[in-house]
């Protein structure tokens, strides 16, 4: 087990390094010279050189890359201050430390992803299992039909609709906004409820369909039939035997979906004007801010890799047949 985790972590470090390298060289290779962009249209050669100097853009590319990568491990010193260990550099545009900006914005994205995941797992998987339990009933038909229609909605369409209904026309709720949970948990919950629910709705539908299919497949398995033949109650078999088996495909898809959930959080942030990682990426790309974009990319990749490792570990707990090696 420990060996498995160590090996996966080592793999993650290599992947992160490669993603960093790919991002960096793509950015540098493109003729998107930040200095001349910052300098403006009528720009003297001396001023351009000054900006380059200040941003460290006059160094050879390999050295810039090395500075960035080593900064993550050891920290870096900038003219206007020290940047502690996981240092992702200093934003060209605002001059803030990228790591601090990300840590500042990440709670919003995390609330969306984690909150959304909890919502769609509880509601989606629950509805799917109920539909499988009462297969062929009215409930099943409604659940399958609704999930089919809802999964065709998009966050950028559903979001504004919900806003129009609950905020603009009736005024039942406030415009969504993020308040740190440590400051005011109630405001945090109320402010984020609309975005989380909208984001979860899209995913719920998929998970309802998947949970229903997985459950039906499990119920056709031989061990389930044997258990029923032994005289165990339908309920017991359903929740003790089939449920466990049906969790495996769901966990698998959940692991794969982390990337698209992060993407969903990005769309949600843009739809509801929330200040999260996704908007940070938009800002960084828009202003050709290399350290900011690099930082967001690396952070996003780190998040995805970590969740994937956790998913693999979760496998071993759900299904004892799985051996981590």
């Amino acid at each position: 087990m420990l060996q498995f985790i160590i090996r996966r972590l080592a793999g993650a470090v290599v992947t992160l390094f490669l993603i960093g390298a790919a991002t960096f060289f793509l950015f540098v290779a493109a003729p998107s010279d930040y200095a001349s962009l910052a300098c403006g249209r009528d720009c003297s050669a001396a001023r351009l050189e000054d900006i380059r100097e200040a941003l460290g853009l006059n160094l050879p590319i390999a050295q810039q890359f090395w500075q960035f990568m080593s900064g993550i491990v050891t920290g870096r010193d900038f003219p206007d201050g020290h940047c502690a260990a996981p240092c992702l550099g200093q934003s060209f545009h605002s001059g803030d430390m990228v790591w601090d900006t990300i840590i500042d914005r990440f709670p919003t994205t995390l609330t969306l992803t984690a909150g959304g995941a909890i919502c769609f797992l509880v509601i989606g998987v629950g509805a799917g299992m109920l539909a499988a339990y009462r297969r062929g009933s009215m409930l099943d038909k409604v659940a399958t039909g609704a999930s089919m229609v809802l999964s065709s909605f998009q966050i950028y369409f559903l979001g504004p609709i919900v806003l129009v209904i609950f905020v603009y026309s009736t005024g039942l709720m406030e415009d969504p906004k993020y308040t740190p949970i440590t400051e005011d948990p109630v405001a945090w919950f109320i402010g984020m409820s609309i975005p989380v629910v909208v984001m979860a709705t899209i995913f719920t539908a998929q998970y309802t369909r998947m949970a229903r299919a997985a459950m039906i497949e499990q119920l056709a398995e031989e061990h389930v039939r044997t258990a029923r033949a032994k005289g165990m109650s339908k309920k017991y078999v359903f929740f003790r035997y089939a449920w466990r088996g049906s969790m495996i495909p769901i966990v698998t898809v959940l692991g794969i979906d982390i990337s698209s959930m992060l993407g969903g959080a990005v769309v949600t942030e843009i739809t509801f004007s929330l200040q999260g990682i996704g908007r940070l990426a938009v800002e960084g790309a828009g202003s050709k801010d290399l350290p900011l974009t690099m930082g967001v990319m690396m952070f996003g990749a780190f998040f995805i890799l970590m969740v994937n490792i956790l998913t693999d570990i979760a496998y071993a707990y759900i299904d004892p047949r799985v051996r981590l090696s």
């Binding site: 249209r41 399958t144 504004p160 609709i161 990337s259 993407g263 828009g286 050709k288 990749a301």
Partner: protein, 347 residues
């Protein structure tokens, strides 16, 4: 993942068909090989009423997209004209003093069938049909490219196996660990900068090219994995071995023995991939890094819709409804195509 109604519908043939398909492959002469399973699939598909209906709807959308200039000629509008600001149209005002559409439901009228855009007064119907044209054909191109790349990479990995397969697998994993949507957002401006100086106006076709490249770079992995796993199992089958023994070249085996057998998973994957590509392109425009003003694009309409939602919620209605119907039908079509190719999967 399929609705339960379909499974009962295709009852008795279900058991027979895979066997028929298998015998036609193994025993009959080559001339029949490709045709027969295809015909069986078509027969099964035709019996599936939901599938046929959805196929009709999807084709209808593509026809609309194709005929966009014709339709706007009939409606007499144009996606670029600012009906609210252009002095030529001053005698038929479409916007009030606040820049909001006059009339009901976003200004629906005889001239402007779906209403007009607030502020500018552009015709929503024309914008939508032209936007669909941009999105659908763009997605068709991207998906085609993804498919071809994925199939080639998957075939190479699956057929040659060993070290080639190992390294292709690692590269695929690497690409999969990218935070996709973040990458799309971050790299659209960068890729555009390859073609055009960032301070100058980017022509629309360069933007389209940049979208194509970015989506292509991060989209082929699913297809490659699917083809690889299918090919891996096919490689060990008797008919491939027979071809090998009789001295067929690897290229011939891939082309004549393996490729015809991966057609069905490829086609099924295609029907799932296309709507998701359309949504990704719409997402890019929505995030402001895809198509920009004044190019009519489906995703851009949602960005505008979100902006106008407070004052003119009706603006979003038609583009949104059109998208929901389209995606719903495409998903149902995907399920039907899968059932038709692989009747066992239907539950």
């Amino acid at each position: 993942m399929t609705s339960p109604t379909k499974a009962e519908g295709s009852g008795s043939t279900v058991v027979l068909d895979p066997e028929l398909a298998a015998t036609s492959e193994a025993e009959k002469p080559k001339s029949l090989e490709g045709r027969s399973p295809g015909q069986l699939m078509w027969q099964r598909f035709r019996r599936d009423r939901t599938g046929m209906f959805c196929a009709g709807v999807v084709i209808f959308y593509f026809v609309i997209a194709l005929c966009a200039p014709l339709l706007t000629a009939i409606s007499g509008t144009n996606p670029y004209t600012l009906y609210g600001q252009d002095p030529t149209y001053a005698d038929t005002p479409v916007l009030d003093d606040f820049g909001l559409p006059l009339g009901y439901f976003g200004g629906v009228s005889g001239e402007h069938w779906f209403g007009v855009e607030p502020q500018y007064g552009r015709d929503l119907f024309a914008m939508l049909v032209y936007g669909m044209r941009t999105s659908l054909f763009m997605a068709l191109g991207v998906t085609g490219l993804l498919m071809v790349t994925g199939v080639i990479i998957g075939l190479i990995g699956g057929y040659f196996g060993g070290r080639t397969d190992y390294w292709i697998g690692r590269v695929t994993d690497f690409f999969l660990s990218f935070p996709q949507q973040l990458f799309f957002i971050a790299f659209m401006p960068v890729v555009t900068a390859f073609f055009v100086d960032p301070r100058e106006e980017t022509p629309t076709y360069f933007r389209a090219l940049a979208i194509l490249i970015v989506l292509w770079l991060l989209g082929w992995m699913g297809m490659a994995r699917l083809v690889r796993s299918t090919v891996l199992s096919l490689r060990e089958r008797e008919f491939v071995e027979a071809a090998k023994v009789s001295g067929a070249s690897p290229w011939r085996i891939v082309r004549k023995e393996i490729l015809p057998n991966v057609v069905s998973p490829i086609l099924v994957q295609f029907t799932y991939q296309l709507p998701s590509t359309i949504l990704t392109i719409a997402f890019l425009s929505f995030a402001g890094v895809g198509f920009v003003e004044p190019t009519p694009d489906w995703g851009r309409l949602f960005a505008a819709g979100a902006r106008y939602a407070e004052q003119d919620p009706a603006f979003m209605f038609f583009p949104g409804l059109a998208l929901v119907i389209f995606i719903l039908c495409f998903n149902l079509l995907g399920d039907s195509v899968r059932d038709a190719f692989d009747p066992k999967s239907g539950r």
